[in-house]
């Protein structure tokens, strides 16, 4: 039971990280393809990223090592389901609005593009 809870907690953390990375990637593409970017937004994102990654690593390590007692399974499940519903809606909304970006980016691989 304890192992199962730990597994779910780690999966939850991994999913959070995946969503964070997805949003971050989208934000970068939009920034790179925009004719003007605001320093405030970019620094805010950098701050959030550092904050998230630091906290993520600490929590993940403590869960993995078994130092931190895990929340009860039902609490964890509620947390995940409540969160995923909200996030899904948010991602869908953003995804639709960024469809244009995806279309532009899907042309030759933008990442590591070399002009030669």
């Amino acid at each position: 039971m304890r192992r199962e809870r730990r597994r779910v907690a780690l999966a939850y953390l991994l999913a959070l990280r995946g969503d964070f990375d997805g949003l971050l990637g989208m934000a970068r593409v939009i920034a790179v393809l925009s004719p003007g970017v605001a320093a405030v937004q970019e620094f805010e994102r950098l701050r959030l990223t550092v904050n998230f990654l630091w906290r993520y690593r600490i929590i993940r390590m403590s869960v993995w090592a078994g130092y931190a007692p895990l929340p009860q399974m039902d609490g964890l499940s509620n947390l995940i389901s409540g969160f995923s519903v909200r996030l899904e809606a948010a991602m869908k909304e953003l995804g639709e609005r960024a469809a244009l970006v995806a279309e532009m980016v899907s042309s030759p691989d933008r990442r590591r593009i070399h002009p030669v």
Partner: protein, 262 residues
Amino acid sequence: MVGNFTFDRLLWSITFLLNTELVVLLVYRKNHRVFPFFFIYALLNLFQGIVLFESYRIWGFRSTVSMRVAWSVQGLVTFARAVAVAEICHRILAKFRGIWGLAWRLLFAAAAFISFYAWTVSRGSWPFAILNLDRGLELAMATVIVLLFAFARYYEVGVEPAVRTVAIGFFLYSCFRVLNDTILEGWLHRYATLWNLLGTLSFLASMLLWSWAFRRTQPATTFETGLLPEDLYRTLAPEINARLRELNEQLRHFGHAEGKRT
């Protein structure tokens, strides 16, 4: 002593030949049109070699005139190098207009801050003034290159291999000069001969890197990308940041939930 002098001259000759080869290579591969400021820098380097050689020949290695000539030309070359570094930054980031708008201001601010810092923490006496200025500029260039790579990595912007090699050459040389200027300041007289020798060696290494980078013709323009409508960023960026903040909150909440149960 004679042996050292001969070795110095040998190194100097090799550097001069490599510099000539670099200038010829730049013209032959038509890269002087693609990197005009780098080309000017390479030409000035060549010019510096000739001027130094002649001034040492006429006035001697330890004369005041030679020293003044050497530092004046060095100032010109350092300025040209700073412009060449700016050209590299422009080459990598300018195609992304928005990012470039942010990056050049940041890089410029960082360079100005580092130069100012290096100037204020260094000794104020006049004999060290040029040395301090030189170190400040070199430190600023090294910092700008590190920030440039950090920027490129953060935004996942591709850097052409040749441009990367050129930037690494600048970075290594600048770092070495900072180190050397710092040591030279401490043990000025004892260290002068070795300083010249090591400086030549580091320059030789950078020259090899640059020659390698420009062994092929570089494209005149880098990949041009279509830009998004102006308002898309303004509406989406704050929203994405809000979602990221939410994810952060979620993580904090999860951590606290664990903490409470502890």
